[in-house]
Symmetry: C2
Subunit: 498 residues, 2 copies
């Protein structure tokens, strides 16, 4: 007989409710049949369905010494004899700005909500460059999706949607762990909010050698690489030419992320300079490469000029009209004019592209051929599908193309939640309200552009910090970020490598 | 012409001083000649010496487009024409409790201090189990060795000592980055404080599948693995037998680390239980395996019994007299009696052994055949070597064998600093003062044993927290740990996996 940690919760009541939820819709038998998940058609696989959730189970490696069969879980679900609740199943794919806002606003008294995404947290992207330089800690700017909502009818499953069976209204998901069998989620309404991925624009070597800056683990990798470069450069046996290479940091892309990363790295180097020998610190160079003719193209030209001037003063070099031909190694980048730049780190923040959209079993989803985004109406409904919606960076409103920003995604999530909740009239389309934009440019300075108001400097930085502190999605994160900023201000950034 | 970040510091004055330091001792030519670093005998290698530091430089992969030679650094050192300072060179190997305390206490007006270790931070080990469960953040319990001391004559180099040339009084170090050439450090006094490593006792599979808990990156790996187990178990397609396996956490070793890890994991699971379905949480099991007949063998039997009883109440199973025969995979452990335990995670905290001691070129260092530790006198001097000392877990005082604990190492570091500084009489031997011991046992309870005072419970836990908060080595860490504890108390532990 096994002892279990039953003191950890008093779950009997909640457990019963979970069974109700899981057995709330009809029990179809359903076999996944896709090129991309061909293993599930294995004759040894069994399919069990439990309401909103269906598991296509394949016999895994038989673990040692276990007699229990794979049907136990189905049996345990079958115990429930309570009446199913009259609620629609809402499936959300993605935990970014759009999906997370929708999740927070949706009325769980009207929907059983199933969220599935391979990333079990929401990332507060504006502070990502800061996290990559130790201004805030990594875990301070992420929020677990399981904590987002406390409701018995909210369920999160870690997995990537690989196919949508529009006829049977199911999404097939692949768990993060390769060997685990796929599962599927029944939907009445489906929201695709899977966002964007890093775009290498087909430049060779980017995937292999450059450091993207899009997810929280990227911030960790970049931070370690910067400190490694410094430690290697400080070793007495490092030849001068290698030391110069290691201490040259190259950022590709002068959009808000690239500029903010350069600014934060400048601040980190200011902290490092207190602890590394001066001859090491003197060698440090920062270069921002931009394919276009201007930095921060979404900002007003006066702010672009201000940023360029400020960067020049801090000896951060901005090279516009410089297209990267290839990344040769971790330590060399080739430009289109044939010149080669040696460096210790290449940060790639040149652009984004929609993630691979789940295959449709049935009529294909309408995709814009140029942007590869899902075409949606101004009600955010995927064209040709009544009960499928797409929001955020992965979607394109044909009548009103919007920038791929957090505020667009967030407003779309909020609009859709209200539309699904029925709190706004059905005929009301989505309207975007631009609330301005901000960017940190280093050394306690930021630029801000809100309506006709444009400003740059220390006060903008105060505004920048206040705005983001307010927008952080949980009190926990607000507290932790505030404490990180306090710690960084008084004690500097941590320079340990691990 | 290159622009450099010269605004980042005003280093001209300090730079000159650094050159003085580096050129302060005689310029021997010295070739590394060792089996373990045979590549340095490559005829293409060149040796440059600069006072305390000598670089055995091997031509690395020639980077693209660089014309500078490998001698530039030597040239730049040669610029210095100032008189060398009359100071002894002290080389410290290791940044653990012993080495770090020595570093903090040594008088830099009397010594040029060179610290070399592959780990560029000090780790506050007592809070490691907490860091592995998210009670404190990883970076809150480490302190960069570069920040430890602000002095022009303190230098840190990231590298592992591989050989000691006792005749020429040099240590040969290998940088962390494989391809970088070795360097050597001249010493007048050498302190070996390299500490201990995880001991697998020759049990097969430990290295491959078990999770050690000794360094800060181990805490990160364990934390991710626990959350991964929960997420996988919560996926609807996970078969029941696999789910049961994943939710069984096994800790090998019931010393303070093993017990504290079990306690912290219990607390983490309590937090997780708020966010995972109750049927998942109900399945969780914790088992502590101990080869000996008792837990926490260094504690009083009354406290051992108290801990065992408390663990039983929290449904943490302690199995004493259970020797692990092998770790079969990440998910299975075989015991000596032939039984197999399935689990999602095996944490290995069964014991430690001294790290590989640098080879001596010249007479060998005296090593105790049983413990493999360096034999030292009660003045912490390595037997037979006048100017070499060993402190902490790697050393053994023949007349007075001490436990391999943080407080022993710390007191040895302090004693040696005072002895080297000349603030205590030369004839005074090292005497260990036991200041008691503490262990966290979960759910706001701890046990403490200070002199004849033995107690367990909530007040001991308050004492436990206060004691460790006081002992944290920097105000920064004290602040961060306090804020982490506050955040954890109010908002719970973070359950994101990344």
């Amino acid at each position: 007989m096994k002892r279990r940690l039953i003191t950890l919760s008093s779950p009997l009541f909640r457990k019963q409710q979970l069974f109700d939820t899981l057995s709330c819709s009809s029990h179809h038998q359903f076999h996944v049949n896709l090129l991309s998940c061909a293993e599930t058609t294995n004759p040894s696989s069994t399919t069990t369905t439990n309401g909103g959730v269906a598991a296509t189970i394949k016999d895994p490696e038989p673990p040692v010494n276990v007699e229990k069969g794979i049907h136990d879980r189905q049996v345990s679900f079958a115990k429930s004899t309570h009446k199913p609740k009259e609620k629609k199943n809402l499936v959300i794919l993605g935990s970014g700005w759009g999906g997370f806002r929708l999740l927070k606003e949706i009325d769980m008294e009207k929907y059983n909500v199933y969220l599935s995404t391979p990333r079990n947290h929401f990332l507060f992207t504006p502070l990502l460059p800061g996290a990559a330089c130790g201004t805030v800690e990594l875990r301070s700017i992420i929020e677990p999706v399981r904590r987002a909502v406390y409701h018995e009818d909210y369920h999160y499953f870690e997995g990537k949607a690989i196919a949508i069976d529009t006829e049977n209204r199911r999404v097939i998901c692949k768990p993060n762990y390769e060997q685990d069998p796929n599962f599927s989620l029944n939907y009445d309404e489906l929201v695709i909010a899977i966002g964007c991925d890093v775009n290498d624009f087909g430049v060779p070597g980017v995937k292999e050698y450059a450091y993207p800056i899009k997810e929280i683990q990227h911030a960790r990798a970049i931070r370690n690489q910067v400190i490694q470069c410094f430690e290697r450069a400080a070793n007495p046996s490092t030849p001068v030419h290698l030391r110069e290479t290691l201490l040259h940091f190259v950022i590709v892309g002068a959009g808000p992320t690239g500029i903010e990363y350069a600014a934060e790295l400048h601040d980190l180097i200011r902290d490092l300079s207190k602890h590394f020998p001066p001859d090491i610190v003197e060698e440090v160079r920062l270069t921002v490469l931009e394919a276009g003719s201007t930095v921060l193209s979404a900002f007003d030209t006066s702010l672009q000029r201000y940023t360029q001037k400020f960067f020049r003063r801090n000896h951060i070099k901005i090279r516009t009209n410089q297209q990267v031909k290839r990344v040769i190694s971790q330590n060399a980048v080739e430009l289109h004019d044939g010149s080669i730049i040696e460096c210790g780190l290449v940060v790639w923040s040149a652009g984004i592209r929609p993630r691979s959209i789940p295959v449709s079993q049935g009529p294909p989803l309408p995709i814009d051929p140029k942007t590869k985004k899902i075409l949606v109406s101004d009600h955010l409904q995927v064209k040709g599908f009544e009960n499928i919606y797409a929001i955020g960076d992965v979607s394109l409103i044909e009548s009103m193309p919007l920038a791929a920003t957090a505020q667009v995604a967030q407003q779309e999530g909020l609009y859709l939640a209200r539309a699904l909740n029925g709190t706004i009239p059905k005929e009301k389309p989505f309207v975007y309200h631009h609330s301005g934009q901000l960017a940190y440019i280093g050394n306690y300075r930021a630029i801000s552009q809100v309506g006709a108001l444009k400003s740059g400097g220390f006060l903008s930085w105060v505004f920048w910090r206040s705005a983001y502190l307010t927008k952080l999605v949980s009190i926990k994160n607000k507290f932790n970020v505030l404490m990180n900023w306090t710690s960084t201000f008084f004690f500097g950034r941590d320079i340990s490598r691990f």
